[in-house]
Amino acid sequence: MSHWVEHLPIVPIVLPLATAVLLLLLDERRRALKAAINLVSTLTLLGVAIAILRSANAPTSNGSVGAGVYLLGNWPAPFGIVLVGDRLSALMLVLTGILASATLLFSIARWHRAGAYFHPLFQLLLMGLNGAFLTGDLFNLFVFFELLLAASYGLVLHGSGVLRIKAGLHYIAINLAASLLFLIGVSLIYGTTGTLNMADLATRLPTIADGDRILLEAGAALFGIALLVKAGMWPLGFWLPGTYAVAAPPVAAMFSIMTKVGIYTVLRLWLLLFGGEAGASAYFGGNWLLLGGIATVIFGSLGALASQDLARLAGFNVLVSSGTLLAVVSVGDAAVTGAALYYLVGSTLAVSAFYLLIELIERGRAAGADVIAVTIEAFGDQEDEEETSTGIAIPGTIAVLGVSFACCALLLSGLPPLAGFIAKFLLLSSLLNPTEIGAAAVDATSWTLTALLILSGLAVVIAMMRVGIRVFWVPVGGELASVRIVEVAPIVALLFLCVVLTIQAGPVMRFMQATAQSLHAPQTYVRDVLAAQPVKRAWKEGGL
């Protein structure tokens, strides 16, 4: 294997860091140059992520996770910090890369001018996200979480204004408190097991003394709460719709992956540490995940029905997606997890596209139009419905925006024919056909989740349809807001990816199932991480 492939896993962390430093050094007025550098770096990151995905997915002789284990500082696994680029990490990296490219392109049209330091913060956010997805060490995970949060604090305030400062204050205070819980959890886990390496933890968990087990579980629970604050689980996610609604649209679109960082970490650590082989702690906390997920879906659906503006509607869609993922992951079945991963990708792309779309839709409308629309609905239509100009040509912009909106609505509510439907169908089919041995009948949990998935889809479809009718089926008055191609292109690209996801559902699902299988059988992950050998010095051969 050539040397550069071995160093791939570090690139998604080092490249954004270097780019951010470079961007900081450049004068803030040279925006075109900064945007170009940022774009090149982001596209390179996407390329690197795809390369990592390919190498992680390449079939290997011993069934290992691929070439992804990278020993930082050349220290072997339990002592040093490792980066692990397995299938799940690589999938999240690619998703981050796609969202970053789309939102950056969108922001270059106008939003990056709204405030200082957009580009360096954007790159630091990418560094934090990539690091959190790649790391195989709990404390390192904390550091990357803080990195991405620090960048996100700056980005929430991007564009300034009273609303953003207000929302930012709540957001920062809540996440700081959550970070402290994270630290208590991690230190309790270290205090009882004596290690922070995830793979090493997984081997030590079954052999823990009974006296320490309660402490360890308390630590894991605190740690879990910190993650669930990020994932937006009810009742920890009240901050989410409000903060995302006031953040600059490209920032909000990028943030739609930030809740997924919480989901990713829960998925990885819960299945790795508290999977079927964790002895007395097997599936610890699963019921809480299930109940929390269900509550989140209900809260998100009700919120979507009640929300009076588009941005809040998108925020509640994020909650529905988070809740669905938490609830179905807690079932602890590989087939369900595979379907959940497919849902994760589809819903993240759709929500992100929706946030970008909202900005274009709202640009042409008066402030407060949404509130008036809902009020009209509640108290009867007072408008004079006389429509004389029938048969006018639909303006191109509105047509594109309308079709995109319809796609978003189909994707988010899970109606055919797009990826949202396939994701929900797969979830339902795997819930109702349990693969576990001995699970002959479908249990109550599966029925509850089935009902929940269908009802939340109904709620979203009602909310989206109501908004769509009020926004698009109105007489076109005045002049249309100007929308540039570079702003529409990212939305169309994100939605096109959802269409690709739909058409290529077979190969994509095979990949997701392979990912889920390796998550549910963490022995290979543990073995690969702990068996990774430091690189021997090769000065004489002239190597690295």
């Binding site: 404390f139 904390f142 550091v143 803080e146 949060l149 620090a150 604090y153 305030l157 009273v162 400062i165 207000k166 930012g168 204050l169 709540h170 920062i172 205070a173 700081l176 408190a177 970070s179 402290l180 630290l183 208590i184 991690v186 230190s187 309790l188 270290y190 205090g191 922070l196």
Partner: protein
Amino acid sequence: MEIILAVGIGVLTGSGVWLLLRPRTFQVLIGLSLLSYAVNLFIFSMGRLRTSMPPVLRPGVPSDLAHYADPVPQALVLTAIVITFAMTALLLVVLLASRGVTGTDHVDWWKSDS
């Protein structure tokens, strides 16, 4: 020593949580600071409490944890101090901005009449 440390952490955490739930932004900030002190002490104590045992290898002493303090929590606590300190400073900036633009230091921007 354990009792003193435990009581210290407890008092700091209690005061921190109390202040965190107060309605003024400055109280929230101080609450978060106190909580972070408590958390830092807690991380430190997870390496077990020992006296006169530096975490540096000395010649002639067996290299196991019976003869040295655990260096990992000390390294962790340094990182944690730096990060929480930076984040608190950032919160302070936002707090000042919020005070400046809204004219009140209530966390939900209620104007007090008194």
